[in-house]
Symmetry: C2
Subunit: 127 residues, 2 copies
DNA sequence: CCGCATCCCTGGGGATACTG
DNA sequence: CAGTATCCCCAGGGATGCGG
């Protein structure tokens, strides 16, 4: 049984409460469209900033930097700056980042698996 | 190898492109904080609207209904209305919904597993 | 109890321009 | 090329109230 407790939990002891609030914070960071798409785009590869922007459909310059900073801050991506001119910055998933990648892959797989069911459900609902 | 293609893909043929755009749409629906927290809250249980609101920390009435509608529309949750007074509405994950639950559980597990690493990474980054 | 509609406001996020 | 900063606008989302 996985330790969940992202849900409303009883206070219990102080350390647990800190851990929970931290967990919820991380979850909120990570559980958003752009972050997950960036992780999926990186996969096992190393990509430059501009490559990422090309790879992630519809992401704006700002959202990309913002999310990359966040992911870097949480230790999910590694940012390597090459001191050349013009600059060259490369992003790679860290070990923990690749751990999350597995979950994202699962979601992507799930999505494609249920395309048909979902399309049907929508049609029924919209009627 | 999972069929991904949530990333910027070459057009190829028309049907594939439709499927891709649908997949991205679903992904955008599903890859958001509240939707995932609701799925996690439901788990294998059946919950009433008000129970869900109590269970999901910080969700507003509006966000909850909105996301529940969306999940219902996509066939991930089943909504059962008991014609009593006062009304009683119960939400349950469908089969596909439980499929997604597995992925969400994975994310929750991942989060707790890496709390320490992330906390450290943050401290280093913020310096 | 549940859910819709309305109002209102904040801040998310796009576009643009400038620096290294 | 990559990143930061600034401006600005619209929609996300909170609060409230009514209806079933």
């Amino acid at each position: 049984m996985v330790t969940k407790r992202l849900l409303k939990g009883l206070p219990e002891d102080a350390d647990l409460r800190r851990a929970d609030s931290l967990a919820r914070e991380i979850f909120s960071d990570v559980a958003n469209k752009w972050a997950l798409l960036i992780i999926e785009a990186l996969g096992e590869r190393t990509l430059r900033f501009s490559e990422l922007r090309d790879e992630v459909e519809g992401v704006s310059h700002k959202m990309l930097t913002q999310n990359l900073r966040m992911l870097e801050r949480n230790g999910l991506v590694d940012r390597k700056v090459h001191p050349t001119v013009p600059p060259r910055v490369e992003y790679t998933l860290t070990g923990p980042g690749r751990g999350l990648l597995a979950a994202v892959d699962a979601i992507c797989g799930w999505t494609h698996q249920h395309l048909g069911h979902i399309e049907g459900a929508r049609r029924r609902f919209d009627a």
